[in-house]
Assembly symmetry: C2
Homo-oligomer: 341 residues x 2
DNA sequence: TCCCTGCAGGTCAACGTTTTCCACGGCCTC
DNA sequence: GAGGCCGTGGAAAACGTTGACCTGCAGGGA
């Protein structure tokens, strides 16, 4: 900046004023400054500007990874809204490690992030919740905000913005739908990490749907496993190999469901004539599977956008800092009436 | 920081030294400082630190969007390597707008980004190339670096790091493979924006494969269209409706190919018995389509990682600032011998 | 006893902006 | 013709941190 000022024959103050345009500068002076700026390809130092209070603020979003279809869509919503609000977007991934997630929040606090967005479910251990509470308060004290996307609130008095799906309700709807089709032996695949908030909510919905119809959940039909294709494939295969009877599968995610479909096809079971399959998330892949996967649709991008909007304008939305977005069933071709026994 | 210093009864310098750990501080003093830090939940201001030369540097990556499977995987590679190198990652999307892309580069220059990574193909108009050259030089002067991921170099003397795929070679291999299977009427779908670098390279490979076998490219089999599912569907449908004969389709991306498959299925053409289909990119979806899509595999994550590695250590890789990563065919179930005419 | 050495900590400038306050000159008004 | 005001520009402080330099004190050797 000093260089520009020297070439233009003015002071740094004047250069700053020309660039900011918030102070009257004579046209001829402005011209000289602009020419010097162009000549040197000068751009202001955002860090110095931020230090003194100006400059664009940043929003951090912390996510498991960028490639999961679910995460990518939420991220897309977050990024779009962040840019629309004139903020910059810092992104970090933690690959599912809760401690790394905490570290990243600290890091973003140093970066003076205006909001720190946690995307996707997290673990709910006592120590994790306690540290989260601390961090949420620390952020709050500096005028920043902890934002939870697709994760339930940490606690009652913890200052944070929460936007989540009705995971339990979606699971209830999906399971109820299968029951209404006559299915009575509905396997659930992917309950491997019960302390994971998403897993728990979906499993709870599955259980409640059974209870609501006076049905029992058969323990041998509750299968653990991760949120991946392999898990869906292996557990379905095991179910078949062990000869455990079932007429429907509720896969905890669409990706798991794709593995389920593969295992069923290999075993010669027709979908939906012999076995109905329903997924969760409505990722783009779901429509392209054969048969098209029935699933629970989640408004991913809207989730991201809403979260940022509420967090940045929390003065106007003070009463709306915990929002639960609705889900709905998408019925495609992988579900049908239970076969006659 | 002053608050911490006051509570601990020391000067700000001492607090800085305790936190940095690069200067001997008496154990008792350190204890008092640490207690004050914990009490206030103090974290250093990264912007002030950056101003004075310390603190983590940032890498910017500028991408079309986060949800395209291709972009997401490159982004994943970029983010992972960036974090591994101890840098932070700023992400911006431009939704395919070349001018917005240029604006974002300026913005990232202000942010003092250590490298500015452009992901995916870009347009190659004279004005765009000229401005890119300017920006590359401006970045270079400040010790930063323009990095092109999956895009050919801007020009000979433009300081930049380029990591691209052999798009032309992959298209050549894919087309040659179809020709070797006996196909002579091979449609190419998705050449809508010929100035797009990726489009051009893939079309060139298609053309060269024909030439190499002494075949002519039939103009009616060269179909424009975007990189989306709809485009693949519509152009395939049009081909069928107009009665133009073809035995194979080279879709410019896998997403386009998924639309092609849908149109063929609706028209009752069997794949691969009646028509062979080959895609490009090897996105995760490709393996899940029915039939499994033959395609050209691109090492997306490796691309992102390599780009960051070369850019940040360009002192050690001075001669390696233009790398072309190889591609290879993945043969699944959507390609087969040409039908007997 | 005195001086030198080494450790612990403090002081101050610097980083690159923005912003507040002040100075200078010309023009209008009385 | 003089005083005040407006339009324009500069000087200096401030933001929060780091690093170079300096000071004071204790211990040890001569």
């Amino acid at each position: 900046m000093k260089d520009v000022a020297a070439i233009a024959g003015v002071s740094a103050t004047t250069v700053s004023r020309v660039l900011a345009g918030n102070y009257p500068v004579a046209a001829t002076t402005r011209g000289r400054v602009m020419r010097a700026v162009q000549q040197l390809d000068y751009v202001a130092n955002a860090q110095a500007r931020a230090l003194v209070g100006g400059g664009p603020r940043t929003v951090a979003f912390i996510i498991r990874d960028l490639v999961g279809p679910l995460f990518a869509y939420i991220g897309q919503g977050v990024e779009q809204q962040t840019t629309a609000e004139g903020r910059l977007c810092l992104v970090c991934t933690h690959n599912g490690d809760p401690d790394r997630e905490l570290e990243l929040i600290e890091l973003m606090r140093e970066q003076q992030a205006e909001a720190v967005v946690l995307v996707g479910g997290g673990v709910r251990t006592a120590s994790n919740l306690e540290r989260m509470t601390q961090l949420a308060n620390a952020l709050d004290r500096t005028g920043s905000r902890l934002v939870l996307c697709g994760r339930p609130p940490i606690g009652a008095d913890v200052p944070s913005t929460v936007v989540e799906y009705d995971n339990e309700g979606g699971a209830f709807a999906a399971t109820s739908y299968l029951i209404s089709l006559g299915h009575r032996q509905i396997a659930i695949i992917g309950t491997g990490v019960p302390e994971h908030t998403t897993t728990k909510a979906r499993f709870d919905g599955y259980t409640r749907a059974h209870k609501a119809r006076g049905l029992e959940v058969a323990p041998e039909l509750v299968l653990p496993g991760d949120y991946d294709r392999e898990s869906g494939y292996q557990h379905t295969k095991a179910l078949i190999d062990q000869g455990i009877p079932f007429t429907a599968v509720f896969a905890i995610t669409d990706v798991v469901a794709s593995g389920v479909l593969l295992a069923l096809r290999e075993a010669g079971r027709r979908v939906p004539e012999d076995v109905s399959v329903i997924g969760y998330d409505d990722i783009p892949l779901a429509a392209d599977l054969t048969p098209g996967l029935s699933t629970v649709h989640l408004p991913h991008e809207e989730l991201g956008r809403t979260a940022i909007r509420l967090a940045l304008h929390r003065d106007q939305h003070a009463l709306d800092q915990h929002v639960v977005l609705g889900t709905h069933l998408v019925i495609r071709d992988s579900t049908g009436p239970a076969p006659h026994q």
